[in-house]
Symmetry: D2
Subunit: 347 residues, 4 copies
Amino acid sequence: MSIKISIIGATGYTGAELVRLLSGHPEAELVALTTQSYVDMPFWEVYPHLYKYNQLIAEKMDLARLLDQSDVLFVALPHGHAMPVALEAARRGKVVIDLGADFRLNDYRVYEEWYKVEHGARELLGTAVYGLPEVNRAAVGKASLVANPGCYPTSAILALAPLLKNKLVNLRSIIIDSKSGVSGAGRGLSLGSHFSEVNQNFKAYNVAIHRHTPEIEQELGKIAGEAVTVSFTPHLLPVTRGILSTVYAELASPLRQEEIQEIFLDYYQDEYFVRVLPQGMLPQIKWVAGTNHCDLGVTVDTRTGRVVVISAIDNLVKGASGQAVQNMNIVCGLPEYTALAGPALYP
Amino acid sequence: MSIKISIIGATGYTGAELVRLLSGHPEAELVALTTQSYVDMPFWEVYPHLYKYNQLIAEKMDLARLLDQSDVLFVALPHGHAMPVALEAARRGKVVIDLGADFRLNDYRVYEEWYKVEHGARELLGTAVYGLPEVNRAAVGKASLVANPGCYPTSAILALAPLLKNKLVNLRSIIIDSKSGVSGAGRGLSLGSHFSEVNQNFKAYNVAIHRHTPEIEQELGKIAGEAVTVSFTPHLLPVTRGILSTVYAELASPLRQEEIQEIFLDYYQDEYFVRVLPQGMLPQIKWVAGTNHCDLGVTVDTRTGRVVVISAIDNLVKGASGQAVQNMNIVCGLPEYTALAGPALYP
Amino acid sequence: MSIKISIIGATGYTGAELVRLLSGHPEAELVALTTQSYVDMPFWEVYPHLYKYNQLIAEKMDLARLLDQSDVLFVALPHGHAMPVALEAARRGKVVIDLGADFRLNDYRVYEEWYKVEHGARELLGTAVYGLPEVNRAAVGKASLVANPGCYPTSAILALAPLLKNKLVNLRSIIIDSKSGVSGAGRGLSLGSHFSEVNQNFKAYNVAIHRHTPEIEQELGKIAGEAVTVSFTPHLLPVTRGILSTVYAELASPLRQEEIQEIFLDYYQDEYFVRVLPQGMLPQIKWVAGTNHCDLGVTVDTRTGRVVVISAIDNLVKGASGQAVQNMNIVCGLPEYTALAGPALYP
Amino acid sequence: MSIKISIIGATGYTGAELVRLLSGHPEAELVALTTQSYVDMPFWEVYPHLYKYNQLIAEKMDLARLLDQSDVLFVALPHGHAMPVALEAARRGKVVIDLGADFRLNDYRVYEEWYKVEHGARELLGTAVYGLPEVNRAAVGKASLVANPGCYPTSAILALAPLLKNKLVNLRSIIIDSKSGVSGAGRGLSLGSHFSEVNQNFKAYNVAIHRHTPEIEQELGKIAGEAVTVSFTPHLLPVTRGILSTVYAELASPLRQEEIQEIFLDYYQDEYFVRVLPQGMLPQIKWVAGTNHCDLGVTVDTRTGRVVVISAIDNLVKGASGQAVQNMNIVCGLPEYTALAGPALYP
């Protein structure tokens, strides 16, 4: 099998990460890489670490031609730009995996409220599948439009799913304190990503108003079977890759450490990419950087009656491009870990 | 006035920071710097950034002689080692400012439970004063034994004091998610401070069991007038200096952003070192690194009914040596900011 | 005495560093801070670390008014923009200290060749003084137009001056391998200063063509009394502040380590800011970061007949704003270290 | 084919890197991992990034048993410790690849002079092969004892080989200014690898006396066909992985940029791991980190008559464990890039 693939918006970090991952994929054939800023430049000139690994020339997007050539389209564009692509691909029966936010929220009104743009493809919201395989694998397998989860939501939902599924916590008590590397903000220039401003620094941002909040609440709500409201605070770490989320919730009734450890092991027992760490070991972002793994560590605090779950992912891999390839593998009936196995580079 | 000062345990990071700060203090005269590892070595050889700034030779501690020579003793030793110094100093009527944990907890049983050593100077616990001037200035002014607060507690208590003083939050709902730079772990060698392990990494540690927890609860309890229990999670940032704490609490009754902003401004209106940032501006550790400031930013989240307070300090300055000098200034009747004024080095 | 000072181009990093340094200067009164990007914004909003330290509003440059108000103008603009300021200031008899390159090269043809712009104030080149006090103090004392040295040249010239002055090395053999922190590239956005590109990275740039080359050669030539040609290679360190230069030269005739150590100590014996480190100790950028010091370490390699000199400075202080203040102090007859003394923040 | 492999000294960084690389090697079977500090601990507890990837228990070295079980032994021990292993392996006809220095220097007197220990296996020096495949591939193919090159020498020799082979430079003029990440110093604790000391810092060390100097000179001498003396200065970068060497030499006669570019392309035309970058592009360590590549950029400086070659490698991969696997592949007749292909993780 050879899957013909186009990446729309390939010269951003998630696009380049797709190129890296798919370079090692035995069934994937990259046919086109589109760009706005680097038209007609060899892709390896834009990303010289790929010198000798990729020969494509970055090109301006020509959607009709991309659809002719491709079986799967990855869309790595800012929100608001995947809608026309998805609409046209739907007409042509091609698979779209959107790494942006356009199809993550089921209710267009919530989308429009948080993203401040009109939703231009409401008719697709019913068919779009939220591509978090560990929670939603069956639906992904049948999807032709996959909404790849946000990086923060991936880290938060995987931390909470076993608790909510088993109704172990008070749904009003959830606090998600997340810390992300700078690559999550992309390659676009801004003072907030300027080396001298970020280096040796640390801050919170978008407190109480980050757009990943409704996405987290929506998906947690599906797992819990009722509405969930969370406090979510993102922070900016002076590292390139990695998200670590520290998640707090009140236990509905007392549980021992061993019990909850068992519940997590159970819930994720068949998952290749989720590693529930042995008791006493807590996740570190460097143990997952560059991989598609999500490491989890869970601690019961009997003094306060809370459970503290810590999750670590690489924001560009499990939090974006790796999960997108995982979704493609599922859609195409390939082993889920194709091109995605392997441990982190450490140290 | 010239205050004769000895630093016991001067070759650790908090000791060296005391030397740096006191080098610029117009009333301070350093008379002795003690060490275990670097006896008879010029202090500037241990810390070459001080070349040409300090001429003392690091010496083995000879307590009797130190007490003869000194008006004030700073103790920058691991917990358990300040007790004999404090006992002897008390007999001789000298001022001790202890940067360790030995005199922070009022109840020796709590100390012994969390620190796993016997308390050898229980008789002094009644006279020791918790040296957080913004909360406790009057008592500090009369103290001869100051228990300098821990770094995390400083950041947490300053974030919460206005809320608890004004009884605005549910006392069972407090979560303190703190992130600290590596210098907080000192200059002692360990894999946990090894560059290749820490660099580009991030992790939580001592979840639910960190020793600063009872200290935070004790001091918050005094402010609130009743017992307070908190969840406290420390994390390790890949930076040298700085602590940022993100503090969550449920509002007892709804408050508008402007109201709570006003409450914070009010509470800290006369404080030189606490900067309540204007609404919409959130603290960053680089804005305070190298200074004795604590920056605060407060956000009301009306969706969840919580307030989120973010505080930033330099763990070695306001979180240790700077606050110790501030306490000394108060004890000695000097302007509080002597040798401590000035903005951060930025970028 | 109160020196009225304006900073033209205050919202770049060297401008902000001037503000920080002059905030602590007992004789300096900042009267105006100009900007292009942040007109009418409080300066502390542009640089929040200065909150409570500076109350000025950044303003559009109005040269006539600045000249009316000011005794000294610091110009912290890109090259090519200081010329009109200097011309007008000369007419009005005001002191200009230019942190850019416009007046560093004595020969306008060399300037135009390397900087690719026409020199618009050739008539001032005769009066401009190269402001490296350790080499050129007397002239600075009489100057009204000071060309503040480039960061790399400062580190290179101070490393080589004792050797060239004493005619100890082959003038054709000099190689200067310099490594700079990112703040040297300023606050302007570019992919080359984007955190995710710079972090954990290291590269050389502008090999054999960097504009500081003719400046270094010119000043070394003056010290040597004959033409000097050097190889100069700048590199980008993933740190915010600091330059370390490793300088190689062939000894004209064999010298012992002790002899050359003596020569360096001698040459810099009266200098406050140059610290010749004791034999066996080599400079580190963290020992000087935030200070106006230049640390030097010299090693004779008898195997190869070369001498290796290592120099370390903070590119924003001794390499820019600190040296500018040092020059101002000299011009104004103040102690040279006013507002510039003090050791580095370490660690 | 299945190659049975033991790693002696597996719990250091180069050992762990061997485990990581060999985990993905289709013909390699790890049979034993030895350790001094972590006996009987699961290897993934020592290196949790390998959780789920490796099930071996770290064991105390039992050489006889290792030789029974293994076809190939990698030795990742400090210098002086590979000799007994190599002697015994030679008797048993097993392949040894030594990542340390014991068999790199052909003349035991040079070894003893620079390493200050007696050489305990002089009889093997004649058969040991210096394992830099790009220079020495044929000999490696027949070797049973491979001396894996040092990290700095790898970066220096690959930069200079085309020049020396073609007799293009003055052999007395070579200067190698190298900058290495901290992982080169291993996992052993020392103040020099303590995060707060290294972070945001930069320094040179072992100026004129580093032990890699005679190794570089020996191998360059073989290529040049006559003795070579170099100045070599190592520096410590605040990054985990990567070496960038900036190499200077005087051209024996003038050459144009295009000519020398051609000479490099020619010399390395069949090499998988050496990428001679197109003119105008200079190596960056992040483009090779985590890979077995050596990137080269060459610049002619006509002003000074020098050539400047810049090389970048990952010190733990091409500078150690990756090159060791490359050597094993050659010894075993496998494609050289087995388990070693793939681009860097970027950003």
